[in-house]
């Protein structure tokens, strides 16, 4: 099948309507990439870890930006490298900075030292310094190896972060028998109360949460994490690796589930209940799911047949595609910044052939997609939002900014909010119908390539342009 949007030849393999796109590769230089750096990925994963000092070993900018994770600001410390440090080395400075941070925030239980491009390039032996200081201070000083360029995307930062957690925090407490009825959640970041929704559901199954990496992770609860009976992997990219390692090391089995969407959440709870051998306790699950569906019904009616395009970080693709399917929407694009084969394969399984998948789409490709397909909604991150708006496409930011989307209540929230966004009056008001003649459709080159100037139809999200599949 033909790829329905124009791309430069090097990118062709990264798009597909039948197959799984090529992935896990470097970004082409010179494009407006939606990907971020390895430090970003490490911060994404580690920022919520409480009671520890987060020290960024790099220029002031890296620290300034990486304070903010999922729109929340965390306090970080930094060495703010300057010219002198670049020329003469910054090992001593790092050591001093670690000690000073601790006297500014006494009572912290560990120090996480993040490396950056500059730190990586001047070639400091950060692990050795950390080891030395750690021995002298008697508390974990943990290097996180995440110079921005050391990987293809933020995904490698997730891995570096997971490695640091596993090496230095998880299961560090005294060995002991598994704690009955206790679980960990890996790859859950507690966006807008998601974790609470999930926890409530688990509690109804009679399960206790030891720790959630990293939405609710402290040095103390990670140290006990090895005594869980089961690891629940929520976000695959950030959780799967950790789950495998914990299985090797502590023999904890794991299940990859998703709590987004009614069917998925119900299946997740039933799988967990089955693991703990209490199928009867899961009886309420079906009922609860049905009740939520009833509550969501008025919104589902408004969404039936609407077309949605999804562009995520990585592994939420598949499960979110299913959740949007449950909303009655047609998924016309499923893309990600740094998904891996497993992620794309899963999405393909649930979407079937014919849906466009893009790996590492950059801004220009997304733009063109929006013009050609004119979906009723684009779901993605803040960086895509304002471009979609300029083209006249409603947008949902994910990770969400308003209420929890996980679990049964979360699904109702999702339905309500998506219905509101798609039906927002502004998209009707966008064209000043009474003031000027309706815009004429023009065709012509926008530049040297084959992209044509597209008009946007009647503002109702019509899909005249989406037919050239």
């Amino acid at each position: 099948m033909k790829i329905p949007i124009d791309v430069i030849p090097e990118r062709a393999g990264h798009l597909g309507v039948v197959e799984i796109p090529a992935c896990d590769q470097r970004t082409l230089p010179g494009v407006v990439s939606q990907r971020a750096c390895v430090l970003y990925g490490a911060r994404w994963m580690l920022a919520p870890v409480r009671n520890v000092i987060h020290l960024i070993h790099g220029p002031v900018g890296c620290a300034y930006y990486s304070e903010t994770v999922r729109k929340k600001r965390y306090r970080v410390f930094s060495t703010a490298l300057d010219e002198k440090d670049i020329v003469f080395g910054a090992g001593q400075k790092l050591e001093t900075a670690i000690r000073e941070s601790l006297s500014l925030r006494p009572g912290s239980s560990a120090v996480l030292v993040y490396t950056t491009c500059a730190a990586g390039l001047i070639g400091e032996d950060v692990p050795a310094i950390c080891k030395r200081v750690s021995a002298a201070l008697g508390l974990p000083v943990v290097p996180v190896n995440c110079p921005g360029f050391c990987g293809v995307s933020q995904g490698d930062g997730h891995d570096a972060a997971a490695a640091a957690l596993l090496e230095h925090f998880i299961g560090r407490g005294p060995a002991g028998p598994p704690l009955e009825n206790s679980v960990n959640i890996l790859g859950e970041f507690d966006v807008q109360g998601d974790l609470k929704e999930i926890e409530q559901l688990l509690q109804r199954l009679g399960l206790n949460l030891i720790c959630a990496v990293s939405g609710r992770a402290t040095v103390e609860n990670m140290a006990r994490a090895h005594r869980a009976r089961l690891n629940i992997v929520h976000c695959g990219r950030t959780g799967r690796w950790l789950a495998r390692k914990m299985e090797e090391r502590f023999g904890i089995p794991w299940r990859k589930v998703s709590f987004f969407g009614l069917a998925e959440a119900a299946a997740a709870l039933q799988a967990i209940a089955a693991f703990f051998n209490r199928p009867r306790e899961a009886a309420w699950v079906e009922k609860e799911a049905e009740a939520a569906r009833q509550r969501a019904l008025p919104y589902l009616r408004r969404l039936a047949g609407r077309r949605v395009a999804l562009f995520f970080g990585a592994s939420r693709m598949g499960s979110m595609a299913r959740a949007f399917g449950e909303l009655g929407m047609e998924v016309v694009l499923c893309g990600s910044q740094f998904g891996c084969r497993e992620d794309y394969a899963e999405s393909r399984r649930c979407l079937g052939q014919g849906t466009l998948m893009i790996d590492d789409a950059h801004q220009r490709e997304l733009e063109e997609f929006l013009h050609r397909y004119r979906p009723d909604l684009l779901v993605g991150g803040t960086r895509e939002k304002f471009m979609a708006h300029k083209i006249g496409i409603p947008f949902l930011v994910f990770p969400q900014e308003t209420s929890p989307y996980a679990g049964f209540n979360g699904f109702v929230n999702l339905a309500r909010e998506v219905a509101a966004l798609v039906g927002a009056p502004v998209w009707r008001l966008m064209i000043p119908a009474n003031l000027v003649e309706p815009p004429a459709r023009r065709e012509g080159p926008a530049g040297g390539d084959s992209a044509a100037v597209k008009t946007v139809g009647d503002g109702k999200g019509g899909n005249e342009d989406g037919t050239n599949l």
Binding site: A97, L104, A118
Partner: protein, 492 residues
């Protein structure tokens, strides 16, 4: 604390002492020797970010220009994210996508291929190449890389098309200076690369606004229009970063507006260059003066009465055009507002933080309101900041307790100092002071870069007389809102 819990009648509000408890439970006394940032290696809550951001900001003010960042993806993504949050606009910035190989072998391939990819996907009218800590440490020879990129481009798309796209290099090693310096360097790089003398004066003035918001630039243009002066605004983000939602749009999307390459070329022939924020723009103005004899007017930003007066006076002196009555009316309205609200602002203790020029401009304005500065934190270390503050205080005849002046440094120092103050009524600064204002339980009036936690600040002006009124109103209302927290009607 609810005011109705205080059973005192007959005592004016400002004499009721509301005890302030730190908002954070784990509050603890910090070791005194570690409070001044000069005593520390560690930086907490910096009041500045790195150079490339300033340069990217500048490039986005050029018509159909795309910044190309020679570094790893994060440097671009983080800045795009910052701009998105501040301006709520798409920010088209290309990345060279450095990976391990670039760190070892240098970024030549990334630049040469990157420029080509950028051109065939975007057909920009200008490319601003912005370096980062990585490329500067690796030691990329950017000048010759750009030559190679151009040669490659000529091969691929033909010499005519290739030569139509100017490529301007801005060196911004992130480990030195700050975003303010990045903008400053961009101002010089652009005029140095593009400006050309025609021998004929064009009768215009050049304005280098510095890191001012779209609303501010529109206000500057309003002043110029009323003065009847034609001007070139360099890095004019007033439309590019505050664009209407008005489909249809073209593919690829470019916002309307921006300074054109032709206008920048012609800057060599203007009457004068105004750098409205000396720390961000002075370099460009000075270069034009040295090279082409275009007079550089480097003053404080036109904030408040005296700030705007000075700007208009300089415009009048240079162009010979009188200040029209319409602007004097605006001035009169600001003066009227100052008189009417003076009893609310006088003797109020204020702390100001942000980029040095914003701090200077606002300090001068709050002194006009009779406020008393307690601490002034300019995030970018500057040779002139301390001296400028002293001059402003002397000009106002300020006799109160001298404020703490932080030149560079970080906000931890600022916060700890404020905690020790017996009284503080107001903080003026950007969103990075939100936590501090919450901790100290004083209101924050938002000005300057960055403001990401409120909507609309990028669209309004604080410069000029009308901007002064907006800022004054916000200051007064914040004081009122905070000091009269119940719903009793307080007649102004």
């Amino acid at each position: 604390m609810q005011l109705k819990e205080i059973p005192i009648t007959g005592i004016p509000y400002d004499q009721i002492k509301i005890e302030k408890v730190p908002a954070t439970p784990e509050y603890c006394e910090r070791p005194a020797d570690l409070i001044p940032s000069t005593n520390r290696a560690v930086v907490v809550n910096p009041n500045r970010t790195c150079m490339p951001l300033g340069a990217m900001w500048a490039v986005l003010g050029i018509r159909k220009a795309v910044p190309f960042v020679q570094g790893a993806q994060g440097c671009t993504t983080y800045v795009r994210y910052t701009f998105c949050r501040i301006f709520r606009e798409p920010a088209t910035i290309a990345t060279a996508s450095f990976h391990e190989d670039a760190a070892v072998f240098g970024g030549r391939r990334n630049l040469v291929e990157g420029i080509r990819n950028l051109v065939v996907r975007y057909w920009p009218e200008l490319i601003g190449v912005v370096t980062t800590c990585s490329s500067e440490i690796i030691g990329d020879d950017m000048v010759s890389f750009i030559k190679m990129a151009r040669a490659n481009l000529r091969k691929e798309i033909g010499p005519e098309k290739a030569d139509q796209i100017p490529i301007v290099l801005v060196n911004t090693p992130s480990f030195a200076g700050s975003h303010v310096d990045g903008y400053d360097r961009a101002s010089r790089a652009f005029v140095e690369t593009l400006a050309t003398a025609k021998g004929e004066p064009n009768g215009k003035v050049n304005i280098i606004p510095g890191l001012l918001y779209p609303g501010d630039i529109r206000e500057i243009k309003h002043l110029l229009r009323h003065m009847g002066i034609e001007a070139t605004v360099l890095f004019d983000i007033s439309d590019t970063l505050d664009a209407p939602l008005k489909p249809p749009t073209s593919v690829p999307y470019y916002p309307p507006g921006g300074t054109t390459v032709e206008e920048i070329k012609d800057m060599a022939n203007s009457l004068a260059t105004f750098a409205l924020q000396p720390h961000a723009g002075q370099a460009g103005a000075r270069y034009l003066e040295r090279k082409y004899g275009v007079r550089a007017v480097v003053g404080q930003p036109p904030v408040g009465v005296q700030g705007t007066d000075a700007f208009l006076k300089a415009l009048r002196d240079i162009t010979g055009k009188p200040v029209p009555d319409s602007l004097l009316q605006e001035r009169g309205r600001l003066i009227d507002s100052l008189a009417d609200t003076f009893h609310h602002t006088m003797m109020k203790k204020v702390a100001i933080m942000g980029d040095p020029d914003i701090v200077l401009g606002v300090t001068r304005f709050v002194l006009e309101m009779g406020m008393e500065p307690v601490a002034l934190a300019g995030g970018t270390a500057s040779k002139t900041f301390v001296h400028d503050v002293e001059a402003i205080l002397a000009e106002a005849g300020y006799e109160g307790e001298p404020p703490l002046i932080i030149n560079g440094g970080d906000l931890f120092e600022f916060e700890e100092y404020l905690k020790k103050q017996p009284r503080l009524d107001l903080i003026i600064g950007n969103s990075r002071a939100v936590d501090i204002s919450r901790e100290l339980q004083v209101p924050l009036v938002r000005v300057g870069f960055p403001i990401y936690d409120r909507f609309g600040y990028q669209k309004r002006a604080i410069v000029g007389y009308r901007g002064g009124e907006v800022l004054l109103a916000e200051i007064v209302n914040s004081i009122l809102g905070h000091q009269y927290p119940d719903d009793r009607t307080q007649q102004l």
